[in-house]
Assembly symmetry: C3
């Protein structure tokens, strides 16, 4: 019986390890930091604030420790047009690992094509869906 | 002993199924999409943005797949007054399944009764509590 | 064999209790209500809205049932300067248990020291990090 108990204890311990390991993986995953920053105003001051916020976050917690995505949609789409006054700052942010995303819904409404937009940015069918999805994945939300 | 091991393996497997099943149910529940849209500005442009955002979301992910609630409070309460310029759009949104909610706290402060408000809307004692509660239930937040 | 099965059942039950107990503790912890209120506009009307929102929340759910933190950063930092028109309201909020926090990043940028600020407030290295962290801890977000 000792041997059987040992076998059983072993199996139970293995099972517990499996479960707790999975719980640990989940809690670790939950600790992965992400934040989606909304830009929906046609206001360069707001665009600079969004870029400042992204930079300050990276400086504060380390660029490697936080996923940042800036989503521009609605009246905010102009932030990502070729002639945007924040073009060079956006290039810097992208180089530093910040994802910058334009809403194709808004682009269609304003008759914009990718040729009208800055290079190095990403696209999503609908900015508002992206913002919702990221939050459902555990990301924080920020509206500068 | 083989038989005992089989029994033990069976019990362990059943237990694992029970636990993993419950974990699966939780993750499925978490995937149910919801979003609360805040309207707190006295600005018809913002009201139209909120309504656009709701419509684009429904068009993008399917109205059946997302719960949307627009909560108007503070200076945003005027969106839901009888004379609101967005009255017909709000009726359309409600017909499409968007919940539109007024803050009774704000109404009291502005001496508004339900007779002053659009029909087909909902009421909560405090808009800010509703916005907090929805997020605690796992809903995303959007402030147009 | 009966005795062994009883032992095994006992061990399994104890293990299940341990796991379910832990799951219960987690879900109870998740129900603790918290909300972080962002103030990033240089606009006393917005500061009053933020303070109204905090007060209405406390009145509605009970001050003991909700953790509230107002984080002022960027152009919103002026809310917490000595000469702020909302100084006495902020003192009242702090007395009522609302945490009011200034961003040291912003203060450095505007050459402000703690001597320039209201008493009874808290400080964080970066307001945007605080806002992100609170959401990752399960707090709701509000931007008046």
């Amino acid at each position: 019986m000792n041997r059987r108990l040992v076998l059983q204890a072993g199996a139970t311990a293995a099972f517990a390890t499996l479960l707790l390991g999975s719980a640990y993986a989940q809690s670790t995953a939950a600790k992965r930091q992400g934040i989606v920053i909304q830009v929906s105003d046609n206001d360069p001051a707001k665009w600079n604030l969004a870029l400042n916020n992204a930079k300050n976050l990276q400086d504060d917690v380390g660029a490697a420790n936080v996923d940042i995505e800036i989503v521009a949609y609605g009246p905010g789409i102009s932030m990502l047009k070729l002639e945007s006054p924040t073009g060079s700052r956006i290039a810097d942010a992208a180089k530093a690992g910040v994802k910058v995303t334009a809403c194709e819904n808004t682009m269609r409404g304003q008759k914009l094509t990718k040729d009208d937009m800055l290079t190095g940015i990403s696209y999503v069918p609908a900015g508002v869906t992206e913002i919702m999805k990221k939050q459902h994945e555990g990301w924080a939300y920020l509206r500068p």
